[in-house]
């Protein structure tokens, strides 16, 4: 079962196979958590979102029908459920970010516990903190695109599907995000110029 494709595991889970679902969770949990943390910049929110994502995955498993041929190889099967999983995750993250949060509470929480942001800033240098701050300042969808493509190295097709956009639109988000980061961090480069 450990070597089965995501698609095969999802079909088993749809029949109530908890062991198959457990393999799916263990396979995707770490990366899903990292993606959520980078988008919402809040560890407890990220963990709630990840739990909700897997709950929906379990509940919807009986309805799971892969878009491609059922006899498709492992790579195709994995891309399908992974794409669906990350689409749910990203949507939940972006919805969470849209919730109005009292500014004074948010600021106090950030001062009280930087680790709650998801970054281990105790281990971070000044440069690292600046990079984290620059990422946090990005518009949510640009940060999500960079989280998926740059930090978690999802393929462009899978990342675009997770954001429910075209590859061209994904590249536009990435370009704008990288440009904003470049401007934000320009003073850190030795000659005042960053690539």
């Amino acid at each position: 079962m450990q070597d089965e494709s995501d698609d095969a595991l999802m079909r088993r889970a749809g029949s109530g196979d908890k062991a198959a679902f457990a393999v799916l969770v263990r396979r995707h949990l770490a990366r899903a958590t990292a993606v959520a943390q980078r988008i919402v910049a809040n560890r407890s929110d990220a963990e709630e979102i990840v739990q909700e994502t897997f709950l929906r995955c379990w509940q919807k498993a009986p309805e799971w029908l892969p878009a491609n041929d059922r006899d498709a190889g492992d790579a195709a099967g994995r891309a399908q459920i992974g794409t669906w999983l990350y689409r749910v995750l990203v949507n939940l993250c972006l919805d969470r970010r849209r919730r109005p949060r009292p500014v004074e509470i948010e600021a106090a929480a950030e001062v009280a516990d930087e680790r709650a942001n998801g970054f281990d800033v105790r281990a971070a240098s000044e440069t690292s903190r600046r990079v984290a701050a620059a990422m946090a300042a990005l518009p949510d969808r640009q940060r999500a695109a960079l989280a998926l493509c740059y930090f978690e190295e999802l393929g462009n097709i899978e990342a675009a599907a997770a954001l429910a956009i075209s590859v061209g639109a994904l590249e536009s988000l990435l370009v704008r995000g990288r440009r904003a980061l470049k401007e934000s961090l320009a003073d850190l480069a030795p000659a005042g110029h960053i690539g």
């Binding site: 969770v25 984290a132 960079l146």
Partner: protein, 140 residues
């Protein structure tokens, strides 16, 4: 071979590490790199920003326990897809027979229940000495 303009777009979007470039374009991008000093300059520029991004603080270790997550999640009910009725057509004759049989069964049951109640009532009436309008009690 890739055009320099497309190579610039790749650098601007994905950075300087070929592992992040779209798989279908890696070979042609590498070919251009080997031949174009301008492409190499673009890659070096993108790689500078990558070095800063790579210094982003690591994520705090997740506190989610996979096994507890699995246990809690799989305790929830799954959503069974609704049986589609559209397009599932039973032959009309068979359907009519089933409906007629159901009606007949209901009639027989009603008769038996009514008759049983009538018998009970008659016995009670006889025992108590009172009379009943049987026609009024026969509700079937």
């Amino acid at each position: 071979m890739m055009l320099l303009e497309r190579f610039r777009e790749l650098m601007d979007a994905y950075g300087g590490d070929p592992r992040r470039w779209p798989p279908a374009e890696r070979a042609s991008a590498a070919e251009l790199l080997a031949q174009s000093p301008e492409a190499r300059a673009l890659l070096a520029e993108a790689a500078t920003l990558d070095r800063f991004l790579d210094r982003a603080p690591p994520m705090t270790p997740a506190t989610l326990d996979a096994e507890r997550l699995i246990t809690r999640t799989t305790a929830a009910a799954q959503e069974r897809p609704a049986v589609p009725l559209a397009g599932v057509m039973r032959p009309a004759g068979r359907g009519l027979w089933l409906r007629a049989a159901s009606l007949a069964a209901a009639t027989i049951i009603g008769f038996v229940v009514g008759w049983t109640q009538l018998a009970d009532t008659s016995e009670a009436t006889a025992a108590s000495g009172s009379s009943l309008d049987f026609a009024g009690d026969l509700s079937w």
